[in-house]
C-alpha cells in the first residue's frame, strides 16, 4: 500500500505533537500504544495500528527515560512498525523488527539535541540573573518546538519520501529473513521485561516474579467450552500483586515499629529497674 502526500503531512503533525509529549513526558502519547494508534488512524487502518501498537509497546516497555538516559526511540518504533506493516504487508511482529533502525536513528537524534542544548541553560542563567521571565520562557518554548519540528520532518521523510526504496528493500528479502524478523518480534518483549527487572528485581522481590509467572500460566489456560479465555488480561494478577504489596507494607511497618518499641524499652530499662 502507498502512503499519500496528505497522509505523510498528517504524520508530520502526529510526529510533532508526540515529540512535544515525549520531551515533556506529559501524557505518554509518545508510547507505541498511542503513536501506533494515531498512525493507524492517519493511514486508514485503525486495526493494524492498534495491533502494531500492542506488539511495539511490549518490546519498548522497559526502555524508559529514567535517570535522563535516552533509549532506542519508542515513538519512532511505534510509528514505523505500523508504516512498515502497511506498506510492505509484513506482520506486525516482523514490522517491529524492521522498525529497529528507525528507533536507533531517532535515539541518536534525541541524544544530539540533548547534547547540543547544553548551551541553553547558560543562556537561561543570564536571563535568570536579569530576572527576564519573558525571554526565559520564550527560549525554553522555542527549543522544544524546534526539536519537535525536526522530529516531525524526519518522520515525514521516513514515512513518505523513503517509502519506495524501503518497500523495494524489504520485498527483496527471502522468506526466511522476514520469518526471522517475526521470531525476533516475539522475543523482543523479553528485552523490555528484562530491563524492568533490572530495577524491580531484588532478593526480596524474587518470589513475587515467580508467583506472577505461575498464576498467569494457570489463568491463561482457563478457557470456556468455546475456547475463549476466561481471564483475558493480566488485571487479576495486578490485583493479586496489589494485595501482596499491601500485606508486605503493613508487615514491614509493624516490624520496624515493634523494633523501635523494643529498643526504647531496653533503653529505659535501667530506670524501670527491669
Amino acid at each position: 500500500m502507498q502512503i499519500t502526500l496528505v497522509q505523510g503531512l498528517l504524520m508530520l503533525l502526529v510526529g510533532f505533537i508526540c515529540s512535544i509529549d515525549q520531551q515533556t513526558e506529559a501524557f505518554y502519547w509518545f508510547r507505541p500504544m498511542v503513536a501506533s494508534f494515531f498512525t493507524g488512524i492517519v493511514l486508514g487502518d485503525v486495526q493494524l495500528g492498534v495491533q502494531c501498537g500492542a506488539v511495539a509497546e511490549l518490546a519498548y516497555l522497559g526502555m524508559t527515560n529514567v535517570g535522563g538516559t535516552v533509549p532506542p526511540d519508542p515513538l519512532f518504533a511505534g510509528i514505523m512498525t505500523v508504516v512498515l506493516a502497511y506498506t510492505t504487508g509484513q506482520t506486525p511482529e516482523a514490522a517491529l523488527g524492521l522498525s529497529y533502525p528507525f528507533a536507533l536513528l531517532a535515539q541518536a537524534l534525541g541524544i544530539l539535541f540533548k547534547t547540543l542544548y547544553s548551551f541553553v541553560p547558560h543562556k537561561l542563567d543570564a536571563y535568570a540573573a536579569e530576572g527576564n521571565v519573558k525571554s526565559f520562557n520564550g527560549l525554553i518554548v522555542a527549543v522544544t518546538v524546534l526539536q519537535s519540528l525536526v522530529f516531525g520532518v524526519v518522520i515525514f521523510l521516513c514515512v513518505y519520501a523513503l517509502q519506495a526504496p524501503i518497500q523495494a528493500f524489504v520485498n527483496a528479502f527471502p522468506t526466511w529473513v522476514t520469518h526471522g524478523f517475526e521470531i525476533a518480534g516475539g522475543v523482543l518483549p523479553a528485552v523490555g521485561l528484562a530491563m524492568l527487572l533490572l530495577t524491580t528485581l531484588k532478593p526480596e522481590t524474587y518470589p513475587y516474579l515467580f508467583i506472577g509467572f505461575i498464576v498467569e500460566c494457570v489463568l491463561a489456560n482457563i478457557v470456556t467450552s468455546d475456547g475463549t479465555a476466561v481471564f483475558a488480561n493480566v488485571l487479576p494478577v495486578a490485583v493479586l500483586g496489589t494485595a501482596l504489596a499491601a500485606i508486605n507494607y503493613a508487615y514491614e511497618k509493624k516490624i520496624d515499629e515493634t523494633a523501635a518499641k523494643i529498643s526504647s524499652v531496653s533503653n529505659g530499662g535501667d530506670s524501670d529497674g527491669i
Binding site: V34, L61, N137, G180, A184, A190, M195, Y249
Partner: protein, 280 residues
Amino acid sequence: MASNDENDEVTPTAANGEKLGKLTSQDITKLGLLSIFEQIAFSFERMQAPGFTSNMLPAFKKIYGDSDEDLKEFMTYNMEFMNTEPHMATLLQGVVLSMEEKHEDRELIKGVRNGLFGPLAGLGDSIFWFTILPITAAISCSLAQSGSILGPIIFIAVYLVVGLSRIFFAHLGYGIGNKALTSIGENTKYLTKAAGILGTTVIGALIPSYVTVAFADTLVFGVDGSSTVQSVFNQIMPNILPLAVVFAIYALFKKKHANVMYIILGIILISILMSFLGWM
C-alpha cells in the same frame, strides 16, 4: 529577606508598599497544570532545571510582586541541576513555593530542593515507570492484540488522569511544606518496596503472556522422529523458554552491563539464523 517565624501573620509587602496576597488554591492548581510540561527544554547539563524554574514563576511573582532582587535570586538558584520523576518535581515545586511564601531562609529552601529530588526520583520512578506503565500497558495490550481500539483508549484515559494528577501533587507539596518531609522520607522506604512487589508480580505475569519463544513443530528428534523438541520443553514446564530468555537477557544486562542496542541486534540475528535453519 529575613526569615520570619511560621506563626508570624505579617502580610508581606512589595518594595512599593503594596500589600501582597498569599497564594490561593487556584494558584496551586495552575502550578500543577503548568508543571505537566516540567521537563521542557531538557538537556544533559541541567536536565529539568529550566522547566522546574519556569513553572513556578507565576506563583512566585504573586508572592513577591515586582521585587526584582528576589525574582533574580529565585530564578538563579532554581536553575541549578534538577532531575527527578516529573510528578515528584511537581510535589517539590509545591514545597519550594510554600517555603518561599513563608519567607524561609533561601539556603534552607535550596537545601530541601537539592536534597530531596534524588530520593523522590526513586519513589516516583518505582510508582510511575515500573508499576503504572507495565500494568496499563499489559491491560491495553491484551485488548489491542485483537485489534480492539479499547486498548489505546484505555491507555490514553489512564495517562490523562496520571498527567492531570500533577494538580494533586502540587497541592500535596504545597500543603505539607517542609514540615512533614521527614515523614515522607520514612514512608518512601515502605512505599518503594510495596511498588516493587506489585511491579515484579505483574512482570512475572507478562512473561508467559507476551514473550513468544518456541521451536518449530517440524523440529523433531528420536529414531522415528516422533517427539518434537518443543514438546519436551512443554513437559518440563509450559513457558519455560520465555522465562529462560528473560533471565538470560537480564543476566547480560546485570552481569555484563550489555548495551541494549547489541542485545536487540543479537536477538534479530539469532532469530534470522533460527529461521534459516528451520528450527523456529
